[in-house]
Symmetry: C2
Subunit: 376 residues, 2 copies
């Protein structure tokens, strides 16, 4: 399948696979789609090491890097974390009997962070992450939240690397186009992680009509060939997928999370700002329920909500992985409504091949429909 | 375009157009789609007169009837309307300076009701509405809310009329299939009126996989040919559309509502139970904002919320139509996220032709994509 997007980044299939683990990204790119590494929680040195490994593995096949770069780098207003918020979180953990972190806890934060939704707000670190990114053979650099800062667009231009940006409304799309991005990712409300209110079915054609010659990827609700075919029908030049890779064998999520993902239904996600300070879709759990009860505090704005809850989530994750049933009740993960389709863990390369084959078959069937029958 | 749905009901195009006005339904059916009349708020005599007129106009072309028949006819629990709820609504109207109804107000409730979302709970009336419906040449009878009662399915079987039912989750679909329905309408969260949380992109293939040989229509987020093509790509045998007909010239909504619909964006709808007691998507307005404020009462269950707010909405509608700016702030309407695409009022027949032509063109383009380029 050839589209404006496959031409732009030089891949076989109009499909992006986003994941925080280099092993998943490499398998997605090897199978002919574009793997994109969620790189926000890496230090510049860690990112450099991972991209060096990916360059070796992929031997020239294209991949991308996603940085959660705030539009106004470094411009964090005051605020902080009020004591009543700390008390609420401590009380919630105490109610569930979650132990404190052991004194000798070895926390590999880059390995544990859910889906790169925390923000590195330090301007110097962001600058270094961009320098590292552009020192490798990246085919696409993405900005997952807000308009990419002019520095990022200028550096990408100089390096000849297209810039992609996620948008959740027509207004976002207009701002991103004005900022000079090369690919728009229209993320519908059904998607995992940070998301808006407009569904993919409505948002995609709206953004396509605004984008003119700029290719648009549909995101949210896409995990199968039929859904990729629907994205193309809506006018997209391909699909950006995230959640489906959580069902890959290569994804590093803990067993307790994988088990929750494999048993969840499409109705088992909710949108909540209680992890990062911005609305993000995730598995429903006792954590989300507690924040919705009368008397619960309002979540803090980004980045303070992350600051507030980071250690709490390290404690929940550790206890849940150790088999604690009450911790398992709290456990959650950023994921979209397609979680209801997960039935088993499969190799990432097989997922790519199934999506592509299913889409190609559906497109052939649809081509015959205007004149004749369609299955259904 | 031929699908399992077009074969079942005998229409040219895999497209259903739902509206409360016989004039819209007739134009949709004349253009080769299936017009479906939302008939809940009619008395049996009124429904008989309208279906008689439609039979004359359509001269044998198929149309359908949608009845909001509760699964447990007549089984309304006690409850009623608490005084603090009445006080809240009166206070809200007073804050906006909405006058009481004039003593001589001529209220044509069948003409005014927004989108047939109120429920006739009287078992005898429901029985009579079914008798009237099956005495006409209906090609489809639909149950908009909940599982159709056994009486409805049995009467339809005897009359040889297929029964369609709206579903918002896989669980709903299983129950409807067990009840023996002939068509499932998978309504995504982006749709107008009563709706669930799962988006069309995710819900449609989930319901298709459960439905086996039973045809599925996708609903929610569909107003253009590209979106109909996407529905077919997802495995649907067609689309059920409602909101787009509010942008038809034949739709009887008041000028103030048409104006709000034509200027709304896709982000301007919210899901709220404050009109009927069940979550329904509608235009954001001061009415919705007021119910979301601290201290506002929780909406009542169906049917008591309708009882509570019916006269309030008659007052709001009358004042808004008379040009009252504060009433216009409160004014709302049941509509889906596709409202953002409305730019002008057009004849309903032209809307059908545009959707069908756009879909056929997109399907032809997609047919060539597996091997070659796709626009986008």
């Amino acid at each position: 399948m050839r589209t404006a997007f496959t031409e732009l980044v030089g891949v076989e299939h109009p499909l992006v696979g986003f994941n925080r683990a280099p092993a998943v990204v490499v398998e997605v790119s090897r199978a002919g789609a574009l793997g994109v590494l969620g790189a926000t929680m890496y230090t510049p040195e860690q990112l450099d090491a991972r991209l060096t490994w990916m360059d070796e593995q992929l031997a020239g096949r294209p991949y991308g890097v996603d940085l959660l770069v705030p539009g106004s780098v470094g411009a964090v207003d005051g605020g902080g974390v009020p004591p009543e918020h700390r008390d609420f979180v401590e009380g919630l953990l105490a109610d569930h009997g979650i132990p404190p972190l052991p004194a000798d806890a070895q926390l590999d934060r880059t390995g544990r962070i859910d889906i790169s939704l925390e923000t590195n707000m330090d301007a110097q670190v962001v600058h270094e992450l961009l320098e590292v990114t552009f020192s490798h053979r990246v085919a696409l650099v993405a900005s997952a939240l807000g308009t990419p800062p002019p520095e990022m667009v200028a550096r990408a231009r100089a390096a000849g690397v297209p810039v992609a940006a996620l948008v959740g409304t027509g207004e976002h799309a207009r701002r991103q186009l004005a900022a000079g991005v090369d690919v728009l990712v229209a993320q519908g409300t059904e998607g995992g992680g940070h998301t808006g209110n407009v569904a993919t079915m409505v948002l995609t054609p709206e953004v396509v009509d605004l984008a003119g010659d700029v290719p648009v990827l549909a995101a949210g609700g896409i995990a199968t060939g039929r859904q990729l075919a629907a994205a193309l029908a809506l006018g997209a030049a391909g699909a950006w997928t995230g959640s489906v890779w959580l069902s890959s064998l290569e994804d590093p999520a803990a067993g307790v999370i994988k088990e929750k993902l494999l048993t969840a239904r499409s109705t088992d996600t909710v949108v909540s700002p209680t992890r990062t300070g911005k609305p993000a879709r995730q598995l429903r759990s006792a954590w989300l329920d507690a924040w919705g009860r009368p008397g619960a505090p309002s979540p803090l704005p980004m980045p303070w909500q992350s600051t507030l809850v980071r250690e709490a989530w390290e404690r929940i994750d550790l206890a849940a992985e150790a088999g604690d049933a009450r911790a398992r009740e709290l456990e959650s993960f950023f994921v979209g409504q397609v979680v209801g389709t997960f039935t088993e863990l499969r190799p990432a390369g097989e997922i790519v091949r199934d999506i592509v084959a299913g889409c190609e078959q559906r497109l052939r069937e649809l081509g015959g429909v205007a004149a004749r029958d369609v299955a259904g």
